[in-house]
Amino acid sequence: MTLTSPPVRAEERTEPTGSTGASPSRRKLPLSPKFFIVAGVAAAIGYLALVPLGYLLWGTFFDAEGFDLGGFERAYGSGRMGELWGNSLAFAGGSAFLSLTVGTTLAYLNVRTAVPFKALFFAASIVPLIVPGILYTVSWIFLASPQIGLLNNFLEPVFGTAPFNIFSIWGMIWVEGLHSSPIVFLLMVAAFRSMDPSLEESALMSGATRLQTLRRVTLPLVRPALLSSVLVILITSLESFEVPALLGLQNGIYVFTSRIYFVFRSYPRDLQAAGALAVSLLAIAVIGVIIARLLAGRGTKTYQTVTGKGFRPRPLDLGKWRPVVGAGILIYFFATVVGPLLVLIYAALLPYYQAPSAEAFASFTLDNFRQVFEMDSAGRALVNSLVLGISAAVIVMALMSIAAWISVRSTIPGRGIVEQLSFVPLVIPGIVLGVSISFVYLRSPIPIYGTLLILLIAYCTKYMPYGMRYATTSMTQISSELEESAQVSGASWWTTFRRVLLPLLSPGIMAGFVYILVVSFRELSSSLLLYSPGNEVLSILIWEQFENGSFNVLAAIGVLMVVALVIMVTIAYKLGAKVGLRED
């Protein structure tokens, strides 16, 4: 793969990819632009992934005098550590269990059986994309808080006492589990779909009952997907901040994320103690990932089965169970989608929150929305969110499309490291990332603390793995012959990349771009530690309303945000259809 001297245009195009420090030497040295681009991208990824972690460890274990475990003493000294660990594990384990059970069951029903209301499944599955965790949690406060919850209002006359208390560990598990169950659903739907139905049919023909087939054939076959769902969900629930912060802090139910926030924000600020907790949470996440990997490693022989044309999905008849299952699905749909969204709209229209009554409906007003539009910070937050989301998405996808080439196509030694580095942020909970990045820029001379730039760095780091996944997936789908034939035709590496690979990658890049844009709109945990007054983003605005107790204004902002996200997701799907992006 030798390269001829680069065309002029190619040289110009190298600038935005951030080949650090390469510009002055490039014209003198006969080194190819490929070298600088690759080295620059690798360095950028390394910087984003490793520097915050380095500072976190340094800042936690060392102070001015040297090695010091004072942070741990102070963090763990409060005497309630057992409770903190217990809550964290119960919360993460419980919600992971709930979402795995619900998500896998729904996926099986949807793909494998003639279940009614199939369209509702996918409506439910995009909910976590359009309803940010913070709004979802607030909705459930509206529904099941012991004081104001609508469900309690309805059921109190029946039971004599409020049956639900959302401000408890069970409430936290319920909300987190439901909110993340669609993630499991989507992962498992893909797994069930890619499974040859005749594997199950042949079990039936062998005389196995439905249950035996499920236990001995279906589940073992989707084990790899099941384990990777466990991995994803475990990390999601460990790093969940919104649910424990909104539901747990009131009654002093701390998990690691909310405790870190509490310590970080209390005065005098004890960064070392916050760091100690962050390191502990990171350690749990890493151990969790390693265990899941080990388990998966034992089972991830990728089962490649010869498949012929007989791949028409033949859904199983549910027979007499159909109405029962159908009712269950309707209940699930109302609990996860309709209820939370309706209650949000309902609250947004009320001057103050109350149970539905003729009086309440009569008092419907758009006053909350007016307040939002008159709020200075609202417009600013929207602009900030947009600017941050778009910049992060552009930067990440640009870096990752090169990184994907390095890891999938190149023969450069150490290319595996680039890929692994880009996935490091996956195991860093958002709140830990916030702590780490604040450590870096509180100490480094670069004056970006308290600007939007620090948020941008956080977002780029956090969403790097998602960008990488999108980019590598599309890169592996492009036959290497397409690239080689461009080279044989005389194109340089950069020309090949630009004229052949990028256009072919564009559907994947586009999908990654939109995904990052959408998820960055909902980012709360690391933003909360890094923002400063004046550069709020939308999620911070909602958080502030929550802290002020202005729930109805919050609901109004929430409704607007959901509308905005629905529009973005719709555009994404339309765009996806246009550039030939296909699901599964």
Binding site: G207, V217, L221, V306
Partner: protein, 384 residues
């Protein structure tokens, strides 16, 4: 052994939707299987042959119990597997697939990749109800025996996915046979193999079927496979059986143009029956009169299509008129060497006739040749 009576299956989705959806009303339901009846005798290998979408697989899956027909009956031995029920008569029956006790080999083999070869074969015995489940030792013994028959004993402990294509096919067969089913269903079991392996396994399959004497229903779209393997063939088109007979009958006297076309390449020439007596026909075609010996008499004056198999045509540069009943004259347009034969395309008047001849005979394009047509190898296909 197996009896299928008036089996009908329409695509359930279309039918159900058609009722609700006004736009689809008026469109007839799409019939995958439309009034199919046949009988398979003990020990036979019965083949359902046809192009994709002709309903052969749907028929097989209905026998298996993986598809629920709309009406008709399916009986294996004296057990009614399915019965659509008759008004005021028998009750509807639909035995679940897992209680029919039949053996089936899938097109994809459906070998469970998370089990060893042994476990794959043992599975059907292990999942039996406790009461009739054989003991562990007996299961092991029976699995071993069937693996030995399939020459898979050395692979017993291996992961099933490590097997080659041919071994996987034999494993699928072993799994289907371990319960000693009364009926074996095979859904295009050879279509995933390469040409050479397919040929050797075809004979292997035939030998096994004959040795074990197991009644089988075989689905394929490959006419060579069907001709080589079957005791009887049912050719299907658009959900109906269009011809049912022994392989030689189907090949030599196709009942219509579709069958003739589908089973091997053929030359078709339209004509009218001039006279017919005791199977001796004389047919007037645009290329002249042909004498044809065919099984049954067709009425004089009826329109027919004459089907001439390429291998029924002999070519030579010398006329043998007088010695043979049918001789045409034409010009070679193209030829292709096929290894065991040479294909010639010969222009005769307006028609192009394909002739497949011994490789020792080969004529340059442009050569004037005489075509001699054996009257016993030409078949008459009624039109309409």
């Amino acid at each position: 052994m197996l009896r299928i009576d008036h089996l009908v299956k329409s695509f359930a989705g279309e039918k159900a939707r058609g009722k609700k959806n006004k736009a689809q009303e008026g469109h007839a339901a799409v019939f995958a299987v439309n009034d199919v009846s046949f009988e398979v005798k003990e020990g036979e290998l019965f083949t359902l042959l046809g192009p994709s979408g002709c309903g052969k697989t749907t028929t097989l899956r209905s026998i298996a119990g993986l598809e629920k027909p709309d009406s008709g009956t399916i009986t294996v031995g004296d057990r009614v597997m399915f019965s659509g029920g008759v008004k005021g008569g028998d009750r509807a029956v639909n035995m679940p697939a897992n209680q029919r006790g039949l053996g089936m080999v899938f097109q994809s083999y459906a070998i469970w990749p998370h089990m060893t070869v042994f476990d794959n074969v043992a599975f059907p015995l292990q999942v039996r109800k406790r009461a009739d489940r054989p003991s562990k030792a007996e299961i092991a013994e029976r699995v071993e025996r069937v693996l030995a028959t399939m020459e898979l004993s050395p692979q017993a402990g291996r992961q099933a996915t490590k097997l080659s294509g041919g071994q996987q096919q034999r494993l699928a067969l072993a799994r289907a046979l371990v319960i000693q089913p009364p009926l074996l269903l095979l859904d295009e079991p050879l279509s995933n193999l390469d040409a050479k392996l397919r040929e050797s396994l075809r004979y292997e399959l035939k030998r096994l079927q004959r040795e074990l004497g197991i009644t089988s229903v075989y689905v394929t779209h490959d006419q060579v496979e069907a001709l080589a393997l079957s005791t009887h063939i049912a050719v299907m088109e658009h959900g109906r059986v269009v011809q049912l007979g022994r392989p030689r009958e189907v090949y030599e006297s196709p009942s219509n143009k579709f069958v003739a076309e589908f089973i091997g390449t053929s030359n078709f020439i339209p004509g009218t029956v001039g006279s017919a007596q005791g199977g001796q026909h004389s047919v007037d075609t645009t290329n002249g009169r042909l004498f044809i010996e065919s099984g049954s008499d067709l009425p004089t004056g009826s329109d027919v299509v004459v089907s001439i198999r390429p291998e029924a045509v002999e070519l030579s540069t010398e006329s043998r008129a007088g010695q043979v009943p049918n001789e045409w004259h034409g010009t070679v347009v193209a030829r292709a060497f096929l290894g065991d034969a040479v294909d010639h395309v010969v222009a005769v008047d307006k028609h192009e006739i394909r002739a497949r001849v011994n490789p020792s005979v080969s004529f340059e394009p442009g050569t004037q040749v005489y075509l001699q047509l054996d009257p016993t190898k030409i078949s008459l296909v009624p039109v309409g």
